[in-house]
């Protein structure tokens, strides 16, 4: 037992035992989590002098009521889903990659560079090369911590986290040095060539090909985890390295591949933001997508559809918080608070669902 002291439960004459959660309970968790999050955050909304119910209307329903903002939800979800899939890949194999943020930026650096050198190619060749380049860059940025983990047993949590800061310094050096935009003089890379920009899916919206890439990444995660022997190995390693080893799984190789694929997908998220939205590399490219990806992967229970759902929901929150802030003047940061509250509440619920209380 883990969530209350033995003494307390003994005093109450109750016994807490571990159970499998019934299905209805698992489907109920997101609903309870949302409700609790609403209750916990409504204090802030009232402090912001708004009616929580009205605020949540703007927050969660208004963005879906017009086509423009509903598409914007998909735009916002794109990097979130990709980052969530990236993290889920690594976490499934028990590799705690906290470095998706840095790997995303590595992919963005590759996109900014390829976007200026591949200009001569037609889009049908240039765009796959952009995505591939971003994947390789993200995987390369994930390589050192993965090798340290596999070869020298150095814990990956801190190494991946620290490398996030390192790449930001590299980007700062690039953008204030050789890559500074010669046209504007701003610390941003020169605009990438037209043929390397991700095409729009729907005219006069911001929705770009990256969303399709995100959907494909979800399908890949689902396929690998549930339909391939490698996915089985990943999950075995994630459940316990020693047991997997004794079952004949090459643990090191499995972790290494999962870590690199994770980094690669995060890198693609960076490509999508550069080639789909900004067309430049900028220092503020990501407001922490890589970190939010960890939350999304966790909320999605590392399951492909769960990650997609959580990514879309967080995209909705990101869009809704803008609508809300325009309509009611509640600070935009409510979105961040809501996402974090949701995570913490759900984590608690995940644990509680595995236990039931009965008389000892």
């Amino acid at each position: 037992m883990s969530f209350t002291s033995t003494k307390l439960s003994a005093r109450l004459g109750l016994k807490i035992e571990k159970t499998g959660a019934p299905v209805w309970m698992r489907t109920l968790i997101p609903v309870i989590a949302l409700l609790l999050t609403f209750i916990l955050t409504s204090g802030l909304i009232i402090w912001g002098q708004a009616n929580p119910l009205r605020a949540y209307y703007y927050f969660l329903i208004a963005p879906l009521s017009s086509q423009v903002s509903a598409l914007e939800v998909l735009v916002k979800s794109t990097p979130l889903i990709l980052a969530g899939v990236a993290v889920a890949f690594a976490f499934s194999a028990g590799y705690y990659n906290i470095g998706a943020e840095g790997q995303l930026y590595a992919g963005a650096v590759a996109a900014a560079w390829l976007g200026t050198v591949l200009g001569g190619l037609p889009p049908v060749m240039a765009i796959p090369l952009m995505l591939l380049g971003g994947f390789i860059a993200g995987a390369l940025w994930a390589l050192a911590p993965a090798l340290l983990r596999v070869k020298l047993a150095v814990d990956e949590v801190v190494t991946t986290l620290l490398l996030n800061s390192v790449i930001l310094f590299i980007i700062s050096a690039l953008l204030n040095g050789p890559w500074r935009d010669p046209v504007s003089g701003w610390p941003q890379s020169p605009e990438i060539a037209l043929s390397t920009q991700l095409p729009k899916l729907i005219a006069r919206s911001r929705l770009h090909l990256g969303f399709v890439v995100a959907v494909v990444s979800v399908a890949v995660l689902w396929f690998v985890l549930s339909r391939t022997s490698f996915g089985l190995k990943m999950r075995a390693v994630g459940l316990g390295r020693e047991a997997a080893h004794f079952a004949g799984v090459d643990v090191g190789r499995t972790v290494l591949i999962a870590a690199l694929v994770s980094g690669g997908i995060a890198g693609i998220a960076g490509v999508c933001e550069v080639a789909g939205i900004q067309y430049h590399l900028i220092e503020e490219l990501s407001p922490g997508y890589g970190y939010t990806g960890i939350i999304i992967a966790t909320l999605g229970t590392l399951n492909a559809l769960g990650v997609a759902a959580a990514g879309l929901f967080f995209g909705l929150i990101d869009t809704g918080t803008q609508t809300l802030s325009h309509a009611l003047g509640v600070p935009i940061y409510l979105g961040e608070v809501t996402q974090a509250t949701m995570l913490l509440v759900t984590l608690g619920l995940f644990l509680l669902q595995n236990y039931r209380i009965r008389r000892a």
């Binding site: 969530f3 922490g288 600070p331 995570l343």
Partner: protein, 306 residues
Amino acid sequence: MEIFLVNLIAATLRVATPLLLAAIGETSAERAGVLNLGIEGTMFFGAFTGFFVADVTGSLWAGLLAAILSGVLAGLLMAFLSVTLGVNQHVSGLGITLLLSGLSLFAFRLKYGGRSTPPSIEPFGQLSPFAGVPILGTLFEQYLLTYVTFLVIVPLAWWLLYRTSFGLKVRAVGENPEAADAAGVNVFRVRYITLALGGGLMGMGGAFLSIAQLGAFTHGIISGRGWVALALVIFGNWDPLKVMGGALIFGGTFALQLRLQAMGLQLPIPYETFLALPYLVTIVALVIAGRNASYPAALLKPYHRE
């Protein structure tokens, strides 16, 4: 050259103060077996509440106290999640960082949103016990918090950890909670206390920036200092004195980089190299520490009592 060096050392102490406070806080948590990735958010929250309360009450001391208390609360939240609920430490820590940065920015925007100029307060002044004396005058012209950090908090942390029965319990809990529990140590309570104390120090580190050094609160006020502090703990082998050494080295490189930039010196390498160095050095230190006995063996492992 002499003036340059003296100024550099004095600046190093100032730069190192918030890093060191947070790093000692993190050491406290990690020594008991909990990696607190809430550090960045806790510093940010401390910087905000410190500024906010100082501004509202007009008392810097009230601000400092509020920052420490908010850090303690953040530490207790981390304890509830990671110790009581046994949630993944890195996920709950990052969640706390996200929550506290969001909350601070939300409250800051709500309170000060409409203003055209960023709000500021009159910050703590520096003490200058040797005013007028060359060299010493500059070296010792420091904030009271810097004195407290180097002369009280670090030695106290070291003494508590290595010379008291409480410290022994903390180390036992971080190394082998099962054995500590069997020996009658309350693992849960020890982790709650170390996380709360550690959180308080992180909040204080954040407040040093807002109510002593800057007299203001900005979005970028912490900008990764929490992660540097996290790195310092590893670099310093989870020993408060070595962590202090690390903070001085890193503070020194940072201060040097600032000075060189301010002098407009053209270096053959970008100044970001100095900033990235602590992180890279720490990764190397981690590789070495991987085989070192002082790595708290129970780090990242939630403790379940059967």
